[in-house]
Amino acid sequence: MTKEAVQGATEEEQQAQSKKAMKKQQKEAEKAAKKAEKQAKLTAEQQTTEEDDFAKDRYGVPAMVQSQQKLDRELVRVQDLTPEKADQLIWLRARVHTSRAKGKQCFLVLRQQQFNVQALVAVGDRASKQMVKFAANITKESIVDVEASVRKVEQKIESCSQQDVELHIERIFVVSQAEARLPLQLEDAVRPDGEGEEEGRATVNQDTKLDNRVIDLRTTTSQAIFRLQSGVCQLFRDTLTNKGFVEIQTPKIISAASEGGANVFTVSYFKTSAYLAQSPQLYKQMCICADFDKVFCVGPVFRAEDSNTHRHLTEFVGLDIEMAFNYHYHEVIDSITDTMVQIFKGLRDNFQTEIQTVNKQFPSEPFKFLEPTLRLEYTEGVAMLREAGVEMGDEDDLSTPNEKLLGRLVKEKYDTDFYVLDKYPLAVRPFYTMPDPNDPKYSNSYDMFMRGEEILSGAQRIHDAQLLTDRATHHQIDLEKIKSYIDSFRFGAPPHGGGGIGLERVCMLYLGLHNVRQTSMFPRDPKRLTP
């Protein structure tokens, strides 16, 4: 390049540089101006906050409740907020379900278990702008104490359980603040699966729900499910107690596997090992031999089955029944089916709200049953299956698909979701099952089904020590391991029978749910040990 050109170039460069410099200066000036503006605004705001907050004492985050004082204050329950309380000034403690600011107002939904109510903080003579802002910023799920007046509304608030009233807040304090980021949103957890897909809104998958069980259990659906489950336990106890049964507690740490060695958890027991009980079977029977006549027990059952299905847990709650009978084991079946029917009736009559709440998220058909309970013989069941094109042998056990198909056939023919299948083949039952007196291929044993899935396996038990020994030998069971069990029948044992149901499975099937983890508060399966 020539000198001139170089010079020209430098000049250009200089010009370019100064242009750049100018631009830079301009930008910096703008930035500074903006900053100054912001500062001015902030100071102005601060001034207003300091100036105008006449409601300073009516909101805030008080000191943590460490039982500093005994306040003689009555807290009203959300479910009791009805038009009858209109214009009363009340206190209540609830969770903030949602909070939404709209100009000079903040709308909150306050929730207590399955009930929620709309509440409102509005700028006026009771609430300041700062108070409204505070209310809008309270994180979801925080627990708040609220003093408010109850007001009737002309238009029903469809989205809340309390539809005829709303609260006008005078004072609001945060008793326990929730972290801003929740691991899952309660609205998402309650959304039916189909709806989520259709409208593009989120639903929460089961694993996330189970990992954050404490929050998931707060949803209306979960609250309903476990209240119903509590009802099942209560009805079970009450019905059996009224029939003269005695509740017993059986040990869960035992020395020998009761149902076969494959699916049992081993624990270290001082210098030796022990097992977690797979069922209270042996102890129930020993109680009968100890003259308790009719017993039941409610307790955990541990099965180390590596099955990852929708209906298996490694730990579940077993509701077990055992009773001595006079002449025929059908006395036992009748007693058990009557108990089940009482439970179904109790749920149908007293837990409709819960059932409807669950159906909102998980629609299903209402549970149907017959009185007296339908009882089919195994051979009849096999015949029905064969009529539908299934090929199976007379002494074959029912596979799960066949059980389900039989459930549908029975539903279609008899219109019931609950039935008993009696006289199973002896070959597929445990060694302590009493064989049929007339046909050695069959046994005095039965299964009960709800919506086509097995919920109870039961039978008349062998109460004769010699026959028991023979059957155990036939099944190639080590007699040493069950010596104390066989011994209990050597000193006079009445004829007896019984059966056991799984609480979680019964709840799942009654409600028409599809996964037993939904009805287990903190489920245990081969892949889950926490929470």
Binding site: P363, S364, E365, E387, A388, G389, P401, L405, R408, L409, K411, E412, H514
Partner: protein, 173 residues
């Protein structure tokens, strides 16, 4: 397989003298040696020939349009049905279900040889269907049950059980 079908077809048509067939190639395409000319090759071709031999032309369709439809279904049987994979089965059943929504027979309103051959071809698929699936493809099941009960058709195939009532309601999973 194809040979048994042809002998069943002969029985249905009432042909007194059973023909002797041979097969060709790995796909075992049936061959019929004809005294009067070149050998007949292929299930569809031989079936049509047998129908003509038995003097039952109505089984090939009564109008020109129906005859064309019958030929189409015979083609379908040999090309789509005989070599279908597991994934194809769902598509085939869905299509057939839609087609049979408003028809009693495959072609026109009469029983034709298309019904017979498609019935033979679809039998192995129907045998493996669960009750719930049979209810799902309700038109195919209805037509299938009708054909398998048609006098003289079934012969070498075991009957497939079809339930009269629906046992899966619309809300069933």
């Amino acid at each position: 397989m194809a040979l048994r079908e042809l002998s069943s077809l002969e029985k249905y048509l009432g042909l007194k003298k059973p023909n002797k067939y041979s097969t060709q190639g790995d796909k075992k395409v049936p061959v019929l040696q004809n005294n009067n000319g070149p050998p007949l090759l292929g299930l569809a071709t031989i079936a049509c020939h047998l129908v003509k031999e038995a003097k039952r032309p109505e089984l090939l369709g009564d109008t020109a349009e129906n005859r064309a439809v019958v030929q189409q279904w015979l083609e379908y049987r040999v090309t789509r049905l005989d070599s279908c994979t597991k994934e194809d089965i769902k598509i085939i059943l869905k299509d057939l279900n839609l087609y049979l929504q408003d028809k009693v027979y495959l072609a026109g309103n009469q029983f034709t040889v298309a019904d017979t051959l498609v019935y033979y071809g679809i039998h192995p698929l129907m045998v493996d269907l669960a009750v719930q699936e049979k209810e799902q493809y309700v038109n195919v099941t209805r037509w299938f049950d009708h054909i398998q009960h048609y006098p003289g058709v079934r012969h070498h195939l075991p009957p497939v059980v079809v339930l009269r009532n629906r046992i899966y309601t619309s809300r069933h999973h």
